[in-house]
Structure formats: C-alpha cells, structure tokens
C-alpha cells in the first residue's frame, strides 16, 4: 500500500496540539522564571569570596550539567517520591526539572557576564563609597544583564525544546499530545511533522524577539 500524505489530519487534531503547546509554554516560562532566579543565585555564589558557597554552587552546576535531563526528570518524578513519600504532580515536576536544569546553565551565563565587566567598575563603585553589594546592584548587574541577553535567549530555546523530554513523566505537553494523536490515527508522518513545525515556529519567534530586544537596549561598547 502506497503512502499517502494526508495534511487534513493535522487540521482536525490541531486544537489538541495547541492544548499541548499551551502546557509546553507554561512549563518553559515557569521553569525559566525559577531557573533564572536559581541560576542568578548560583552564579553569584560561584564568584563569592566565601569558599563554601563557591563549592556548593560548583557541585550543583557540575552535577546538573554532567547528567542527562531525562535522568533528572525520571529521578525527580519516580525516585524522589519513593524517598519522601509525596507524589509530585507531573506539571510541577516538569517546571522543577526545567528550573533546576536551566538554572545550572544560567549560573554559568551569569558568572561569565559578571566577570566580563571591567574590574575598574567595581573599583569605581567602591571608590565613591558604595558597598560591595550596592556596587553589584547598581553598577555591575545592570551592565552584566545586557550581556546575558543573547546567551539567555539561547537557553530559552534549549529549554523550550527540552520540555519535550518531559513526556516520559506523563506531562501532556506538545510532543506527548502528538504521540497520543498518533496512537489513535497512526498518521505519524503528518502529526510529528506538525509537532516539529510548531517547535520551529516557536524557536524562530523567540530568536526574532531577542534580536529586537537586543537592538532596543542600547548595546554597550565592549571594553
């Protein structure tokens, strides 16, 4: 039996895919929101003068970057409840996994951006009587944040795609929804292609929005 391309199945199932997409977006944004907080804290700890904080951040960053996100997701969803005796709802587990995972990468983005700021800026801040934390807040962080935007955008795209791995813990996100549709209509070619195109539209959109944002914020001279 010859293969016949049936784009109409996509049209029929499109509302379902969109429901999956909604969850993908919610988990991505929620995960990155907490991931940014977590990453900022870990990144600042990594450059702290306190060796204990540096080590602690180092252990977090290395253990997350050194293990697959799939393992992290399954450990959190299946493993941790066995130890703690509480089940974590899949969506919450998904947000936690994305947050903890992206946080480790964002920590390195934050650390790198802060360290790329001329040490003279810290000295100038201190020399007018600001404390170390005031100088960080008013002088270093705003400059570093602008330099974080391109790599953060990159992380946004990576995390968006990584949410598809959460299908293994039963999160009904975009790919999982596609799989459920295929289980009913067996149109793997059309459905997975549609799923892929939806991801692509999202990531291209993010990339475009970021370019606009970068241009909007005054780009600082590199020195």
């Amino acid at each position: 039996m010859a293969f016949q391309f049936e784009p109409s199945v996509v049209v029929e199932t499109f509302p379902m895919l969109m429901r999956g997409l909604k969850l993908t977006v919610v988990i991505t944004i929620g995960g990155l929101f907490f991931g940014f907080i977590l990453g900022s804290i870990a990144g600042l700890m990594k450059i702290s003068r306190n060796i204990l904080l540096r080590k602690l951040a180092g252990v977090y960053i290395e253990s997350i970057r050194g293990t697959p996100m799939l393992v992290q997701a399954m450990f959190l969803y299946y493993g941790v409840p066995m130890a703690l005796g509480v089940r974590i709802p899949p969506i919450m587990a998904g947000i936690i996994v994305i947050a903890v995972n992206s946080g480790a990468y964002i920590a390195e983005i934050v650390r790198g951006a802060i360290q790329s700021i001329d040490p003279g800026q810290m000295e100038a801040g201190r020399s007018i009587g600001l404390t170390r934390s005031q100088t960080m807040r008013y002088i270093i962080w705003p400059q570093a944040f602008r330099r974080m935007i391109p790599p953060l955008g990159n992380q946004f795209i990576i995390s968006l795609k990584d949410t598809s791995l959460l299908m293994v813990i039963g999160v009904g996100e975009l790919l999982r929804t596609g799989q459920e549709i295929v289980a009913v209509n067996f149109r793997a070619f059309e459905v997975y292609m549609a799923v892929g195109i939806v991801y692509l539209v999202m990531t291209l959109g993010i990339a475009k929005a970021l370019r606009a944002l970068e241009q909007h914020l005054r780009v600082l001279p590199e020195k």
Partner: protein
C-alpha cells in the same frame, strides 16, 4: 589629613612598597612622581584600601583605615579616587554618574543630588552633557565627569591616579585646568602624575618614589631646578628630554 606610617605592600613575594611615610596636610596638593612600577599608584590605592596594606598604618581624616573595625565605605567617600581609565558607569547618564554617590552614600534626595550634580558639571564645563552617556564623550570630557563624580561626594581629599595618562595629548590641558582650579580652591589632592609641568606649577610638595621608597621630597622649585638625588636626576633627565 592623611598620615601614612611605614607602609609596606607585597604582591606575593614581590615587595612593591618598602616602608612609605607620608603626611598630607589639609589643603595641600602633593604630586607623586616616579618611574612606572615604582609603587606610586599602589600608595594611592592603599589610601583608598583598593589594595590591602601588608604592614603599616594609614590614617585618613583621623580614622585608622588599617583597623578592621573602620567603616571603609565612609572613608572611601572622604578620600575618593579619580582613575586613569576614568571608570565612568557606561549604563548611566553623565548626571546619574555624578548623583549616584550622593544619593546612595550621603543620603541626599535625588532632587538635591541633581542640583549639586548640575552645578558640578557646570564647574567642569560640561553642563550641556548631563543627559549624554559616557561613550558619547571624549576622553578629556570623561575625566572631567569623573572629577565631578568625585567632587559630588564632597570628599576631604581626592586621589588622582595618573588622571591624564590615558588621554590624547590635546585633551590633557582641559583636565589639568580643572585640577588647577580645584587646587586654587583649597582642595586637598594627592596626584600621581607624569605631568611635570603640572607638578611644578600646582604642587605644594613633590614626592619622588622609586624602588618602593620615597627617595626625595620637597617643594617643586628646589625639586626640579636642583635635584640632589642621583636617581631623581636620572629620572627627570629622561622625562624632560622626552
């Protein structure tokens, strides 16, 4: 105003300062000259505690800044620094650069700080640049903003670390002019410089540092016209012939 006693500073095994004693009186302009690597900038940076002294005592405005109990942030605001590389805050307007310290450190309201900031920018000849960003200014203008930023804190002394060394030659004059005006108004200044003309004209006292020690000090007339120390003679010979 500033009293330095037996200041030593080592970076690892390299001893940069080998016992500096220096006393700066209120209203005095002290210029520090010397070959590069002699430790002259390190002296300034120790006064501001940007560098931690290895040994010795530094008393700024009656406070022993080598005492760990001293609140360094307030001392820094009293003895603020103007840097060779300006170190303006590039993400803030010129005016904001000047008002940040007064608001955050001195507790002025933003209106008061802005008023003072605009006065000081006018004083350094940059009233019309208040809303510009630092990267829209020339080097000389940047350094004049940096001086206004220091003045905005109403410090007891300003430390200048080679303030004209990063400038194109034609821009040096405008910065020196502002510094001369400050000197005339009685500001206490410690200036590390290579501008011998400035030192000769403005300094109350010139100090020659070489090899981590003060080799010679005195009023500029005697200092430049009749140098006794052979290392100073050698140094001046090189600088002036240049």
């Amino acid at each position: 105003m500033i009293r330095i006693e037996n200041l030593h500073k080592s970076f690892g095994s390299l001893e940069v300062l080998k016992g500096i004693d220096l006393h700066v009186r209120p209203g005095e302009v002290v210029c520090i000259i010397g070959p590069s690597g002699s430790g002259k900038s390190t002296v300034l940076r120790c006064i501001n505690r940007l560098e931690e002294p290895t040994a010795g005592r530094i008393i700024v405005d009656g406070k022993d800044i080598t005492d760990p109990k001293t609140n360094m942030n307030l001392v820094r605001a009293e003895a603020t620094m103007v840097f060779q590389q300006f170190n303006l805050f590039p993400h803030m307007t010129v005016l904001h650069n000047v008002t940040l310290g007064p608001v955050k450190v001195r507790g002025l309201s933003s209106a008061e700080a802005e008023e003072r900031g605009r006065e000081l920018l006018a004083k350094v000849g940059l009233a019309d640049k208040a809303e510009n960003y630092p990267d829209q200014l020339s080097g000389g203008q940047k350094q004049r903003v940096a001086i206004a930023r220091a003045l905005a804190l109403q410090p007891k002394v300003i430390l200048f670390d080679e303030p004209t060394s990063a400038l194109d030659p034609e821009l040096v004059g405008e910065v020196l002019e502002v510094m001369k005006q400050l000197a005339r108004e009685g500001m206490t200044m410690v200036v590390v410089t290579h501008e011998m003309g400035f030192a000769k004209e403005v300094a109350d006292r010139v100090i020659f540092i070489d090899g981590g020690r003060i080799q010679e000090e005195g009023p500029p007339e005697a200092f430049f016209s009749n140098p006794e120390n052979p290392r100073l003679r050698d140094f001046l010979g090189k600088v002036i012939a240049h």
